[in-house]
């Protein structure tokens, strides 16, 4: 890696402009990276009173509750329960799965694929982003190919990975890492390009080493971008794990869903989906909490 580029060198390389990805930033927990540097802007929490928060959460619970009630009511009256099951059946199935212990191996398998793939994909994406952003011309040689891979619908690679690595853990982790790495790369790369050039110049003017510049400037500036990437990554990793399990596996939540659907056991399918949703929401909440902690300087 060469030294950090100055604004003028940066102009000379003339990288192509890309719009930031649409992270699902549905509420005040995350902010679009690179924006809101200014002071005095609303800071999500604390801006609203207690009354507002009570209304917010009460409304959310009501929407969820009413949807479940409607489902329960429709099932057996408007729609054949064979096709849509019902919330009470799904709840009963989940309870049975927990009691019999059948849930845990599936959940743990999927979580292991998810965790390992997310970790490898994130680390790989960061390394790739730093390498391409800081290697000047050489990085620009590789950039279009990485972007081409990024736009490839990577779920289509799942059958290939099963052929290459078998139906065990390796093919799933590869799939998950492939899903995650590009989202992370993209955010890291764009994040580095959007760092205030004056901050990099400031570090250069003080003759700071590359590592110190990474520690004091690049990584802190990337934090909001990495958090966005992580949030996207959680969703993508679950998709990758489940798709790979659907294509070929002997355990995991995707396997349970596929198996249930082969047996025309729709309640089982919904039970699997409910667990996946719960996993996604749990990790999303964790990333949200991490964001609030890491971005408290705003």
């Amino acid at each position: 890696m060469t030294s950090l580029r100055t604004p003028s060198e940066r102009l000379a390389t003339g990288g192509r402009e890309l719009a930031a990805p649409d992270a699902d930033m549905d509420d005040a927990r995350t902010v679009p990276p690179g924006r809101r540097q200014g002071r005095g802007q609303g800071r999500g929490r604390g801006r609203y009173g207690r009354r507002h928060r009570v209304l917010l959460y009460a409304g959310r619970v009501a929407v969820g509750g009413l949807t479940l009630l409607l489902w329960q009511f429709a099932s057996g009256r408007w729609v054949d329960p064979f096709f849509v099951s019902s919330p009470s059946d799904v709840a009963a199935r989940l309870a049975a799965l927990v009691r019999s212990g059948e849930l845990w191996p599936h959940l743990l398998t999927t979580l292991a694929e998810f965790g390992a793939g997310l970790g490898i994909g994130t680390a790989g994406g960061i390394a790739l982003g730093l390498a391409i952003a800081f290697s000047g011309l050489v990085g620009q040689w590789f950039h279009p190919y990485v972007m081409a891979l990024y736009s490839l619908p990577r779920v289509a690679l799942a059958p290939l990975f099963i052929v290459w690595f078998g139906i065990g853990l390796t093919s799933k982790v590869t799939m998950v890492a492939t899903m995650v790495i590009f989202a992370v790369f993209y955010n890291v790369y764009e994040g580095i390009r959007s760092i205030d050039p004056d901050l990099l110049d400031m570090a250069r003017a003080h003759r700071a080493s590359f590592l110190r510049t990474l520690r004091w400037i690049v990584f802190p500036a990337l934090t909001p971008w990495l958090l966005t990437a992580l949030r996207l990554g959680v969703g993508l990793a679950l998709i990758g794990a489940v798709i790979a399990e659907l294509v070929g596996s002997s355990a995991g939540l995707g396997y349970y869903i596929k198996n249930s659907s082969n047996l025309l056991d729709i309640t089982g399918v919904f039970a699997g989906l409910a667990v996946i949703t719960a996993v996604a929401m749990t990790f999303d909440t964790l990333v949200g909490a991490l964001s609030r902690y890491l971005l408290r300087y705003r």
Partner: protein
């Protein structure tokens, strides 16, 4: 350090502390080239306070960045302490036009940056930071993040950070530019008092002639882009100066008028 007054620096003219010769700087700008500086010569002596005024976009920031080694020179040389500079030199401190503070670090940690780079021991870092915080008048705000500070306070943090690096030459790029008149006057006064105590060499960019004359020993006027030096004016106002008072003296008003005419008509010959 009372001996190191600017007068002492000015009488002992020999080799200049900083010498810019035939500096030419072109930026690559989509397709063509922008000439920001053209054949610029400038000397700054040890302990001297030089103010640089010029129209917006004439290359003042570019000059400071070229001296700090942040942009590539197209031609010409910069000599510091008799040595020709290549790359980023030691002993030159740049105060950026926008304050370039790290938003994710507290005021203290921003000031810590040069100390950490220099490998100063933790205890010594804490001592120096406390000293600098009080020197720039920020006592009690060390733990604040930049967004929790006013514009003037952020400038003070940026100033403390440059002071922490303890450079031999201060390059200051419109350090008090965006501040309101009152804050600006107060910071200028504090800075002037600080400088009159330590007597370091300063090259100070401003677009405000009053500020230039109030603070400097010499005012250098630059032409519109491509920037060159078109006039130099010695400021014979005795020190220590009181920022609030100097501007009412006759000497101040005469000089101010001459510099303004030079800036606007580019006709006045060099003093």
């Amino acid at each position: 350090m009372t001996a190191a007054t600017p007068a002492a620096g000015r009488t002992a003219r020999g080799e200049p502390k900083l010498s810019v010769r035939g500096l030419r700087l072109e930026y690559a700008a989509d397709g063509g080239r922008t000439t920001a500086l053209h054949d610029l010569d400038l000397d700054v002596h040890e302990g001297e306070f030089v103010a640089l005024v010029g129209p917006s976009g004439c290359g003042k920031s570019t000059l400071l960045k070229a001296v700090s080694g942040l942009v590539e020179k197209t031609a010409g040389s910069v000599v510091l302490d008799g040595e020709r500079l290549e790359g980023v030199p030691e002993g030159v401190g740049l105060l950026f036009q926008n304050d370039a503070l790290l938003p994710w670090r507290t005021a203290e940690d921003n000031i810590r940056f040069p100390l950490a780079v220099a490998g100063v021991a933790q205890a010594e870092q804490r001592r120096r930071i406390a000293e600098l915080i009080s020197a720039v008048g920020l006592t009690g705000f060390g733990g604040h993040y930049p967004r929790q500070l006013s514009g003037g306070m952020r400038k003070r943090v940026a100033l403390a950070r440059v002071l922490a690096a303890d450079p031999g030459v201060f390059l200051m790029d419109e350090p008090f530019g965006p501040l309101d008149a009152l804050t600006r006057e107060r910071i200028s006064a504090d800075f002037l008092a600080l400088w009159e105590r330590v007597g370091k060499t300063v090259l100070f960019v401003t677009h405000d002639i009053d500020e230039a004359v109030t603070l400097a020993d010499r005012v250098v006027v630059m032409s519109a882009r491509p920037g060159r030096v078109i006039g130099e004016y010695d400021v014979d106002i005795p020190r220590p100066r009181a920022v609030e008072d100097v501007r009412f003296s006759d000497a101040f008003r005469r000089l101010r008028g001459r510099i303004a005419r030079a800036l606007h008509h580019r006709a006045e010959p060099t003093a």
